[in-house]
Subunit: 438 residues, 2 copies
């Protein structure tokens, strides 16, 4: 990795300090096949401060495993240039090591797909890369999209992210909201209507894998009746067998824009794809570069839902986009619970990708808390692509301190997201179901 001594003309761009702030953010009781979202979800805010005093911010997962990798990288980064984002991978390989309990392949069937040490490291690097690009953009007076070659669109379209959900977290935990429960087709339609009326979303994704497939088919049909002709998606997080996936695909052919991760593993997805004309999307079986070749050559997926956290940052996301374009595979964006820093990063990179074929996912409307001074506002289901320097967001330090305080005060139960454990507060006998569940 290039150090400040290498002679870059812009000397003020050397990293002088890195600050890591783990936080807990409120999350509603959203259901998925593993369980339910915890009342609070861990995130990590990364600040990179340059020699000339410019601060860039990034955001990534905040679970202990990620923190354990982020700390040595934060220690090693000072002295390097914020321009040197390619070098972050080398540096992470050198200093991060492998977190406790992580082998080459763990947690198959988890919501984040196969978790490997490489993938955890890339998710950590992504937060540092975004912080470096934000600092660089702010120092140069250029928006992050310009550092990525320039935007090719002025707005990025997002879809409504619908969830089966409880009215409230059990035992009075967490933050209250007024959405109420959504546990049947009518509840899903009401939620979609509110999303459409509030934010103008015109495409809808339902997180499935919660109820028996026929109940979820009914929910999609109810959405299709309420919003005729609008793009609809269903995502059971790999909960179904090949046969069940094909059953759902038959029932919803012509209704779904795409079916997302109906079955887990590339092999199952390939077998589903061979039996249906409904396009299959994934953010589970293609989440890293080494997983691409088999999936693409077997035609297992027709749409990759990229996620700059998984893929190691914004430049890697552009490379993924180029690969998809080259192989005729569609592209959109995945989202996990995140705040406005990551949404800004998603929007910048999405704006630079010519082949952004579908509206992106975002959990953001479910997040009532943030660490930026001005929340993003969806209008007509879209976000504008800002030309302000860097990401175009500013840290709200009071909010950051309050959410960090929550993390400090936590007794340890929320610092690692565990949807199955959260579900046991509702159902003491709950265990994350086997794959396939149906």
């Amino acid at each position: 990795m290039q150090t400040s001594g290498a002679g870059t003309a812009a000397k003020g761009l050397t990293v002088a300090e890195v600050r890591l702030t783990p936080i807990l953010i409120a999350d509603p009781p959203l259901l998925n096949t593993q369980g339910v979202h915890q009342p609070y979800t861990p995130r990590l805010v990364i600040e990179v401060v340059t020699a000339d005093g410019t601060t860039g911010v990034g955001e990534t997962y905040g679970d202990t495993r990620y923190l354990d990798l982020a700390r040595p990288l934060a220690e090693a980064l000072p002295g390097h240039e914020v321009t040197d984002v390619n070098g972050l991978f080398t540096l992470a390989d050198e200093v991060c090591g492998v977190p406790d309990g992580v082998s080459d392949s763990v947690d198959v069937g988890g919501l984040r797909g196969v978790q490997t040490a490489d993938k955890l490291r890339l998710s950590v690097v992504s937060g540092f890369e975004v912080a470096c690009l934000d600092a660089l953009g702010k120092a140069l007076g250029l928006p992050v999209h310009a550092l990525l070659g320039g935007k090719v669109r002025d707005h990025v379209e997002y879809s409504a992210y619908l969830f089966y959900r409880l009215a409230a977290h059990p035992q009075g935990q967490g933050e209250a909201d007024d959405w109420g429960a959504a546990l049947d087709p009518a509840g899903v339609v009401a939620q979609a209507r509110r999303f459409a009326d509030t934010y103008g979303f015109s495409s809808f994704k339902l997180k499935g894998g919660v109820f028996a497939p026929d109940e979820e088919i009914a929910a999609i049909r109810a959405l299709a009746a309420e919003f005729p002709g609008r793009p609809l998606r269903l995502d059971p997080n790999g909960a179904w067998s090949v046969e069940t996936s094909l059953h759902v695909a038959r029932e919803l052919a012509g209704v779904l824009e795409y079916l997302e991760d109906p079955a887990s593993t590339t092999d199952r997805m390939a077998r589903v794809a061979a039996g249906t004309e409904v396009p299959l999307a994934t953010n589970m079986c293609v989440t890293t570069f080494p997983e691409i070749e088999e999936a693409f050559t077997r035609k297992a997926v027709q749409v990759v839902l990229s996620d700059h956290h998984y893929w190691g940052g914004l430049r890697n996301t552009q490379q993924l986009a180029a690969i998809c374009r080259t192989f005729g595979v569609g592209l959109s964006m995945h989202s996990n619970t995140h705040l406005g820093i990551s949404l800004a990063a998603m929007t910048h990179v999405a704006a630079t990708v010519p082949n952004l074929d579908y509206a992106c996912d975002s959990h953001y409307p479910w997040q009532t808390e943030d660490v930026i001074t001005e929340r993003h506002v969806f209008t007509l289901g879209r976000l504008p692509v800002t030309d302000r320097p860097g990401l175009g967001v500013e840290l709200d330090r009071e909010a950051l301190a309050a959410l960090h305080r929550r993390w400090l005060d936590d007794d340890g139960t929320m610092r690692d997201r565990d949807d199955a454990a959260a579900m046991r507060k509702v159902d003491p006998d709950w265990t994350a179901p086997p794959v396939p569940r149906w």
Copy 2:
């Protein structure tokens, strides 16, 4: 494409003027399967001047077809931002049109592979992209590699590019040199020895397709005897049949690092690859993104020789590199006759690519003329990766004017490179041979 009104903070980065300077540069009488290099070869120097007076330079092919595409792009560019290199593709699609005599697919079997309107346009865009990045880097005080995410190495290795050649151009044309003829194994070895002694090159590529395959096999064996253990390559530009290619591969197994474009077309390359363990490289059957899928899935090539001119610039070259990395295909760099601007651009992008698996090609040692003030100097077969702003080169305006004067004074015979026409000065009956030739 983003215009200056879009609100980018750094207002001085708007393009104010574009200058195109077609030139003719001296080229030695190097032989290939099509004929012989002309005494002078056309190139185009592109200058992009920003509102704050920073000038960036780029270089690309200068034949009439390229000039016809470059002129409308040069007219359309003022008012756009030099940061907006992604938008160059859209702008070129809008304004460049299709040059006379170019259909979707022409000149199959030419040295530059299949020429299409898309490919010509990308070669033109590449020169503009490099000029924009050079201007941006100079304006910001950052080297081009930093604009591409940062270098991952401090030197880029090049190979010696050996040619069968005549001692002089016929009829006393062109510029004289003291290399003498190289028309047999002894001549090739003497040339390689001079390259090794002068520049420190430790790998060697022979441009073949000139003599019968067994003569070229003998030349490679002579090189192997003179430089034991050094990487050797042979490139007949697709002149051979599948059977001949397999014969050469059998004869040179264990001697060649790779065999480059033994046969033309992906289908022939796939059949050769299926019959040999010698890796096959190409800069002819994979020269654009749409050609990748078939070649990679059929395992037709093991190494892609990228060329930022063909692929549409430095960012596209990085994307190609990512695709190669993902599919386990090796990467190196191709070169056509070029000057120091393009060599600087090659070196910057090569420095940012982690999977640069082989030493790059460069014709540069054969070019005695240049348009930059300080020529690049190969030491130990390598070039250093500069941290000077932009490309790190400065235009020599006197040299540029002199080479442009040569272009103006030309009677039209040199303005379009035609190696077969040049060969007819030696052999009046010469026509570019059919493919496969042997």
